[in-house]
Every structure is written in C-alpha cells, then in structure tokens.
C-alpha cells in the first residue's frame, strides 16, 4: 500500500502530528531544565522521553524509539530514583530555577545556527536526495567496503572505517563504558 510518506501524498512539510509532538517535547524539556525539585524533574523527563520516542516512531525509526523508551523512560528513571534515594533531597520553596538569560541567548543562537541548515536537508524519504539520485557512492561502498576495510558489515565499515574520525569520540565513549563495566563487575564478583 502506498505509505503516507511526507513527500508522497502530504504536500505540507510538517503534519499536525509533528507540530503537536514538537510542542509537547519542547515544553517538557524546558520544564525538566527549570524544575528545582529533582524528583519532579525526573518525572517530567519521563514524559519527555515518551514524547521523544513517539517522534522517533513517527520518523520511521522504531529501533531508536524502542531504545529511547526502554533506556530513557525505563532504566534511566529507575537509576535516577535510586541515585536520589542514596543522597539527600532538599525541599525548595521555589518550584523553578531562575532563567539565566545570557545562557538562553547563547543556546538560542546556536540552535538558530543549526536550524539555518535545516532547509538544505532532504525530506524524509526524498527520492531526490543524493543517496538516491546519485547512487555511485552507495554502490562504491557496497562493492569495495570489504576489500578496502576488511569489515564484513557494510554499515559498520562506513561507521568505523570510512568515517573513522567522525566516530572516534563515540568509539572512545563505548570503550570507556566497556572498561568501567568490566571493572565494576570484577569488583562485584571478586571483592
């Protein structure tokens, strides 16, 4: 069946679902940042994750959505709760942080700079995007990835080899997380 991709049958760039989901996500994000009580912040952050995951689903990234739901709404919430259970919670008379306007300005400017590139991005599923209209690159990867990098998975070869510098930071984080996990587990088991 003809899936309702934005380019296929909906001429407008954004649908009402997107607009309302964005409003929801931004609202909850702002409240998460401004709430003074850690517990309220965590709870509203849970709502934020739900909205974010719905957004991912809408953009056809169900795997990311599933991760967002499981990690953000589920595991993170429990971890944060355990953390504040271990530390003390102070009552605040004021419910929200005061807004630091220069910071808002800086973040806003950065956001605006980022947003200015949005117009150049291809629409989701756009058949005129370079990947589709100029398949040479894709074909090149598919044909030569194994010979050049020795990595069997073409996606992995692009991620870790052709774009090695881009993903270097990511690889470091994953490596560090792995080391820490090993350390922690070792201690739990042997100490």
């Amino acid at each position: 069946m003809n899936a309702l991709l934005p380019t296929a049958s909906v001429p407008l760039a954004v649908s009402p679902v997107e607009v309302s989901l964005f409003a929801f996500v931004i609202l909850t994000a702002v409240v998460t940042a401004l709430a003074r009580d850690v517990l309220s912040s965590i709870i509203v952050f849970g709502a934020y994750s739900l909205g974010m995951a719905a957004l991912y689903t809408f953009y056809r990234a169900p795997d990311v959505a599933m991760t967002e739901a499981a990690i953000s709404a589920g595991v993170t919430t429990v971890l944060l709760l355990l953390t504040i259970a271990k530390t003390s919670r102070i009552d605040h008379e004021v419910a929200f942080e005061s807004v630091h306007w220069p910071a808002v300005g800086a973040v806003g400017l950065l956001g605006a700079a980022m947003a200015s590139t949005l117009a150049e991005m291809p629409v989701v599923g756009d058949t005129n995007s370079p990947v589709w209209s100029n398949p040479d690159v894709t074909q090149y990867y598919l044909a030569n990835a194994y010979a050049e990098t020795g990595v069997e998975n073409a996606v992995m070869s692009v991620l870790a080899s052709y774009r090695g510098f881009d993903t270097f930071g990511e690889a470091v984080v994953v490596f560090a997380a792995g080391i820490v996990t090993m350390l922690v587990l070792r201690r739990e088991v042997f100490a």
Binding site: V17, F24, T28, V31, V44, G46, L50, P62
Partner: protein, 101 residues
C-alpha cells in the same frame, strides 16, 4: 486497497483522519502536562505522567494505523508495559524511599 486508504470525503482518507486524531491526542497530552508541571504533590505528577503514557500508547497505535505501519503496535505494547512499571516504581519510591527494585 485497505481500509486506511479508503477516501471518506474531500480527499481525506481514513489514514489521514487517524493522523489528525493522533494530533488531537497530542494536544490533549499537552493539557495533561499542566498537571505534571503544577503538581502540587508528587503523586499528582506521577498520575499525570501515567496518563501521558497511556496517551502515548494510543498515539503510537493511531500513527501505526494511519501510516500503515503495523509494527508500531509492537512499540506501543512495550510502552504500555514500561509506563506501568514507571508508575509503580515511582509510587513505591515516594512512599518507601529507595524501595524501588
């Protein structure tokens, strides 16, 4: 041709109708966030987020039907269970601090 593609009126298909309904549910969710933000007690916030979670499940299901992607329903099922877990964990937490898990 499936039901989602059936044209109701003025070029509006059932799928489009469901998408508009999903948008309506998100707008209602926005109203619900008032309670999540306002509180005043922690339980009020948990309650609001629980309702928001149920809403998200419905929104996902409607999106799945409207966009013709039945796999969304699997995600919705995971959500429904997670949402339940979250409500229980936080309620238990506010009564018995650190009693989660």
């Amino acid at each position: 041709m499936t039901v989602a593609d059936t044209v109701v009126a003025g070029g509006l298909t059932v799928g489009d109708f469901l998408l508009y309904a999903a948008a309506g549910f998100v707008v209602l969710a926005l109203g619900m966030t008032y309670r999540a933000i306002r509180g005043p007690t922690m339980q009020d916030r948990v309650l609001a987020v629980n309702v928001l979670g149920t809403n998200t499940v419905v929104i996902l299901a409607l999106l799945g039907a409207g966009l013709g992607e039945p796999t969304f329903l699997d995600i919705a099922i995971v959500y429904a269970l997670l949402n339940f877990l979250m409500a229980i964990a936080i309620s238990k937490f506010t009564v018995e601090r650190g009693g989660v898990l």
